[in-house]
């Protein structure tokens, strides 16, 4: 019992110290990207989209979306959202111009994070369409 308490206490202390130490490390993230993360969260984007493979699988992964689509196309999409298929009327949630720019800044920052090739490129299964 005593040994259990000692080991438990040491482990917990190490866990807490390392957690708080890491949280204080300088993170070179632009202020616009910080604001963009708040926009990302305020619209609950993670429910449908994924980042680093985590999130909802209803819509596209956003990890490298800036590289794939370009900033102008993304901004147009966010400000004048299109119909979400297979719906005929329901639109993708829209944001203001300022929010769109902040969100794109955040996604640009996310694009710089090394992910070892994730998400994998799309491919067609043999016999599929």
């Amino acid at each position: 019992m005593r040994m259990l308490m000692i080991i438990g206490g040491v482990s917990v202390a190490a866990f807490l110290i390392s957690s708080f130490a890491s949280a204080r490390l300088p993170a070179p993230i632009p202020q616009d990207a910080v604001q963009g993360k708040k926009v990302w969260q305020s619209y609950n984007c993670i429910s449908c989209h994924t980042l680093f493979g985590n999130g909802g699988y209803v819509a596209d992964d956003m990890t490298h979306i800036v590289m794939k689509r370009g900033q102008d196309e993304l901004k147009e999409f966010l400000i004048n959202p299109p119909v979400m298929r297979p719906n005929r009327e329901r639109l993708h949630p829209g944001v203001s111009s300022a929010e769109a720019e902040q969100l794109i800044s955040y996604l640009k920052y996310v694009d710089t994070i090394p992910t070892l090739g994730w998400p994998p490129p799309a491919y067609t299964v043999k016999g599929g369409r």
Binding site: F15, A27, Y43, N44, R90
Partner: protein
């Protein structure tokens, strides 16, 4: 009285599970039927579903531990009143999360979509649970069993792993890391430990293992297999998971897997008492039991998933897959010390 409390937790957990199923069906219907009218948008409905999926196992685990502790130790838990407050606190916090999300008020972090205030309520409830459980085993320390100790470790780690998620991180990697502690470490460490202890208790209550009079704690020796095998299963799943997601070098999983298998082989064989098991294990293992937990948790975080490793993906990958898995085995090794 402990059984009465356990039944209340069970009822709350099963109710949430049932509602979660209905929410899932409604969400699926919205995906299949175009323009289906829904008072709650899909993105918030999914958030409610996900938060139910997180909280019903948590509430069920609390009840499970109270039930199993009473079975293991042969006495009631430390405070029924505290357990009652704890139940209302966690259920109230959960309802707060679901109701505010239904009104499209939230925080937008997957698995933590509700307002942080409500997760603080969940945290407080877990702290009360941990306090209640620790006080219970301290009162019954002369009759402490490995199963009870394992469950206690599991329940103590639940609030600890939740702490960072009460803070706000602007860096997306830090955000993902602390979320990971709940999403995976709750499931694959804390819940596994509580469940392992429960399985041991359950097998004994079924009469599948004899408990000689006066040798209660020695009779648990055979149950090393339960948690150890569960952890081995985790080794396979986790290593496979990491290979798929993060291109983990396959060799990095071999060491922890071999380490754990060695533990399974050495501990139950030919030893008369748990203490001998622990000594044998210390002598034959490449890393002492507490070292596994210490190295696993601290190294995983400081090396593998800290901001230091942001630009060193290879280091992060290896640390993530190898050292962290070792941490789980380290947690399992505390089983031996609890004798």
């Amino acid at each position: 009285m402990s059984l009465k409390m356990a039944r209340r937790f069970c009822l709350a957990a099963v109710s949430l599970f049932g509602v979660q199923g209905m929410v899932a069906l409604l969400g699926a219907a919205e995906l299949v039927i175009p323009d289906l009218p829904s008072p709650i948008p899909f993105e918030y409905g999914r958030a409610i579903h996900v938060n139910m999926a997180t909280l019903w196992p948590l509430i069920g685990t609390m009840g499970l531990v109270y039930y199993a502790l009473q079975e293991e130790l042969g006495r009631d838990i430390f405070s029924q009143r505290l357990a009652n407050w704890q139940l209302w606190l966690v259920v109230g916090s959960a309802l707060g999360i679901y109701i505010t999300l239904a009104f499209q008020i939230g925080n937008g972090r997957e698995f933590f979509e509700g307002l942080p205030l409500f997760y603080a309520g969940v945290f407080l409830s877990l702290v009360l649970a941990a306090y209640n459980v620790v006080r219970t085993i301290i009162r019954a320390r002369s009759n402490l069993t490995p199963a009870a100790a394992v469950m206690t470790i599991g329940i103590v780690f639940l609030p600890l792993l939740l702490i960072p998620n009460l803070m706000r991180f602007s860096n997306p990697i830090a955000d993902e890391v602390v979320k990971f502690w709940v999403v995976h470490l709750w499931e694959e460490m804390a819940f596994e430990l509580t469940t392992s202890g429960f399985i041991a208790t359950f097998i004994k209550s079924l009469g599948l293992a004899a408990v000689p009079r006066g040798q209660h704690h020695y009779a648990d020796r055979g149950f090393w297999h339960c948690p150890s095998l569960l952890l081995d299963r985790d080794a396979c799943l986790l290593v496979g998971n990491r290979i798929y997601i993060q291109h983990l070098p396959i060799g990095s999983g071999c060491f922890p897997a071999a380490y754990d298998l060695q533990g399974v082989e050495t501990s139950p064989q030919g030893n008369q008492t748990g203490k001998v098991c622990a000594l044998v294990h210390f002598e034959q293992s490449p890393l002492p039991c507490p070292g596994g937990l210490f190295a696993g948790i601290s190294d995983h975080h400081t090396l593998g998933e800290s901001l230091h490793a942001r630009n060193l993906p290879d280091l992060r990958t290896c640390a993530h897959g190898c050292i962290w898995v070792l941490g789980i085995f380290g947690a399992g090794r505390i089983l031996l010390l609890s004798k």
